[in-house]
Symmetry: D2
Subunit: 174 residues, 4 copies
């Protein structure tokens, strides 16, 4: 599928709004989360914080996306800001724009089915893989290492694969 | 010290407001937390959920106390309600009433110095111990077992002991 | 049941052989393990090492018992000695004496059904509880705290309770 | 450095002895361990068991190497055999041959400095990286993913990198 663009109503941890188009040339990891989703707090966010530490920023960009699809009044940007501070989250986080339905816009465009969802884009912006729930670090590391080696030039069209981890504790599904 | 009474502006998970006076005859565990405090989410709340499972409710009462002393706008009762739902917290939780200062009233009265704080009361309502930060389950189990054996009748006046756990990750101090 | 005495062929970490009779007046925790039992290495031994740190030695005595009932040639005293060194085990450990059957003598006498097994004795030497497999620290702490409070004098005859933990990973059963 | 060959006195979990030469065309992970080394039991072996599950055997070969350099009498092949059974280790494990010094032969040839040590070879048999102690799964996954993508044909000469993880708990150093 053609990679959709982000639709973000407010950014944290960045002075300028980000677009996927502007990140071409880097591997991109999008971590879609809700601040009150236990699986996001216990697994999803620590995982991408490890990605931040393991890979150089100019090669692998980590973006958080706050995809609120339930308890909208409880997870406002005011609460999110405090959450990011308390959990020491330093990567850019965008608030997924609420649309007319239950799901926010970017979440709908990407066909995400719950949180935490991790989407991996290659250097040319193509979606390589979707993970829903808890992700194996070996598996994800391998996918990133593969992209870093292949480079943007030789990327061939990969159909997106959706892996729904079994036994994921605390994930929140649509 | 004379045990102060709770000052709660709103209760969740109980139809009738609770008082410490009304819990005489039972060991009482008060878990003071903030919903955006990582140490509370990772250690404090799972610990008292284990207490709930391990000891019969008619002998050991578990109460949560939402002692917001920072990021007040981010941790409102609306957000707390969703938090309790998502983390499957079923014990009664009171919102500590905001006073004129930074600290909410009950937190001030008990002299709590941060979150998570755990206060253990014997069956006659006396404070046996204060724990700040991560608590050893063996130690806490021993304190509860001791109270259950001693019973309310023979409880002698214990000066409250404050244990501040070292190396507590994610705790939030005043 | 009348508490049987230990039958030990060799001791480590103590200059003089221990007997349960000689430990009257203290709560006694017997940790029966095999050095190649994963559940013992992952759960049983760390648990009693925590007991050692939490409770004063003059009130709670921790004893290891190497109850080899399988792979006898693989878990000799020579291997056990290196194991104790590498895992920094400092409490006294006795080698349960091999008898004529598969099970060593003390294990048979106590009716243990596998490893790790934890037996808790009160200050008068009576068996309070048997645990097989992974043990809740809150539960065990409570049992110890209760004994410490009750004291030897007032101990009444308790029938031994056997708790076989469900879902214990890595335990080895007879 | 030119990759040395294994020098193994006895194999488990394989009918025919393995050589690194015979594994050309596959990525090879050598896990050097001692059965009584806590860091090996807690981190090293679970890690390579995850590698086994994550990557297809025909692309990534996992080999264990029992590199005993201390407590030789305690970690004999008889004990190792029981250890492999109890910890459900199913990949091939070779016993590193004892030479004239303290260190066994293969360990010396590879310049390993303790256990657990992990050596990663590319499909042409060249050493890509040495890890001593606890290894990041993201990092190792990335290294494997990179090799799988690059393929044997285009592998260029990499100087071996030795990463000694800091704060590795339970590792045993020469």
């Amino acid at each position: 599928m053609q990679t959709p663009e982000l639709d973000v109503s407010e950014w944290f941890n960045t002075d300028t709004p980000l677009t996927l188009g502007g990140l071409r040339g880097r591997v991109v990891v999008i971590e879609a989360f809700q601040m009150l989703c236990p699986g996001c707090v216990l697994h999803g966010i620590p995982l991408v914080q490890s990605i931040q530490k393991t890979f150089p920023e100019e090669k692998v960009a980590v973006i958080g996306l706050h995809t609120v699809f339930e308890h909208h009044d409880a997870m406002t940007p005011v609460s999110l800001k405090a959450f990011l501070h308390e959990y020491r989250i330093t990567f850019p986080v965008g608030v997924d724009r609420q649309g007319v339905g239950q799901l926010p816009n970017t979440m709908s465009r990407f066909g995400m089915r719950g949180t935490p969802s991790l989407v991996l884009l290659d250097q040319s912006g193509r979606i390589v893989v979707h993970h829903l729930g808890q992700v194996s670090e070996l598996q994800l590391g391998s996918e990133i290492g593969s992209l870093l080696t292949r480079g943007a030039a030789s990327v061939t069209s990969n159909p997106a694969t959706v892996n729904q981890s079994e036994g994921a504790s605390g994930s929140c599904n649509v």
